[in-house]
Symmetry: C2
Subunit: 270 residues, 2 copies
């Protein structure tokens, strides 16, 4: 049995491409469609009701393209829309918060976990709640890192400036003796080497992007929804759609995908 329908992945912008990248690494035979809502980025400063409305528009758009599953590759949209989307659509919908939270709960030895995220995500408390759904006794320390996204989008993913900023954010977590830290923003995998070095070998760094990709694989394989290739070279295709300038999307997005995006299509009016 083979299900050739694509997996739909969306984010407010390019950050969710780190999730797409992990999905492609783990499930190379799957077709994917990525939607970046670059005309309305960022979602973090908007009202949650508005974000839910945007998410529903995009999911409808992806379902019209016959996706077999939807991944909300955006922390803000996951917090705003995941549960409502699961109740409203027939295809499985997953977000980026629960998989990372579960991995942290499984991996912390001293039951002290840290979360690095944007201010909006920290304020929502979504990671804390998700970790506690697995183990209510884990101490969760959330650290807002407002300077990371602007640095990463300017291309600063290593060097002394990032090092200084990261040390400032990580020191309070290290003082709390956390032994597992969740990268709770889709931009952060680009700076994981620096974060890992500062935290040291005793702390496990958990990528929400990587854990979400693993969960996509589990759901598709356990439900029998994987695409079976006709021959080993028959890899999946990726399609990129965005709601603002496609060239800008391709340029910035290639860094997040760690691979060149040759062409992105503008979305028809949603």
């Amino acid at each position: 049995m083979s299900d050739p329908r694509p997996i739909g992945v969306f984010d407010s912008g390019v950050g969710g491409l780190t999730v797409l990248s992990e999905i492609r690494d783990r499930l190379p035979y799957e077709h994917t469609i990525y939607f970046g809502d670059t005309a309305r980025v960022p979602y973090g400063v908007r009202d949650l009701t508005e974000v839910r409305w945007f998410a529903f528009e995009i999911i409808h758009y992806l379902i019209d393209l016959d996706v077999k599953m939807v991944v909300i590759a955006c922390n803000t949209a996951t917090a705003a829309a995941l549960k409502a989307a699961q109740r409203s659509f027939d295809v499985p919908v997953i977000g980026v918060i629960e998989p990372g939270a579960r991995a942290a709960a499984l991996e912390t030895r001293n039951r002290r976990a840290g979360v690095l995220a944007t201010e909006a995500t920290v304020t929502s408390g979504a990671y804390r709640r998700a970790v506690h759904a697995f183990d209510a006794g884990i101490s969760v320390y959330e650290q807002a890192c407002p300077a990371f996204v602007p640095l990463i989008e300017r291309g600063i993913v290593d060097g002394p400036e990032l090092e200084r900023v990261a040390t400032g954010y990580l020191t309070p977590l290290m003082e709390r003796r956390v032994d597992a830290v969740i990268l709770g923003c889709t931009h952060y995998p680009l700076i994981s080497a620096t974060i890992n070095r500062i935290l040291g070998p005793g702390v496990r760094l958990i990528s929400s992007a990587g854990q979400t990709a693993l969960e996509v694989g589990r759901i598709l394989s356990r439900r029998g929804f994987l695409r079976r290739p006709k021959h080993p070279d028959d890899e999946g295709r990726s399609t990129y759609i965005c709601s603002a300038d496609p060239e800008e999307f391709a340029l910035l997005g290639s860094r997040f995908l760690e691979e060149e995006i040759e062409a992105a299509a503008p979305a028809a009016a949603l």
Copy 2:
């Protein structure tokens, strides 16, 4: 690194031995201590506050025996005490509800899942909530099966009487077109062959006992808490403790463990 401390498992009576059996099958090198609170069985008819008090007494007792983890192998005690126990004790504590619920959420293709459980568990709505924590859009149909436990404890685990009773319970679930069914009571693995036959090959039967054992293995291995044997024959030992007549426990319990219990010790006054 090897952690030789035992895993503690408890239930109101003998039902949780199906969970212990799955843990021993999957983790043969682990030492285990099973506590059956046979003096106070069943928990299902009691007040939740009282059950939480019993669970805390037993967990304190197990921690005094230096367990590295506690498994609440009882649906009622999980609903009553899991979250509070996770917050109160330093060792990891897991219950039997979340692992089965997660497996059902991962495996249902049509997002329609059934739950077979005691009346107390169905009334608590714990499985429905746990499935919805993973996917809020899954339709969950819960079926109380009050006749199963008395039949199983009388040794009736197949034959026309069980068949008739089971058909009565399963028909409403089949009419709802569920394609995944959770055995939401630790007694039910003993009658899974009959349930499987009635449901047919299109429905996946999920054992909470088996899924809980898998979760124990995940937590111990990912945290580095497994016991490493000195040589391949160095299997783990199991110790059985109960709060009422040890001979009666060993006699009834052997059927649930699918292996003879040679000796059970009476609990010292808790």
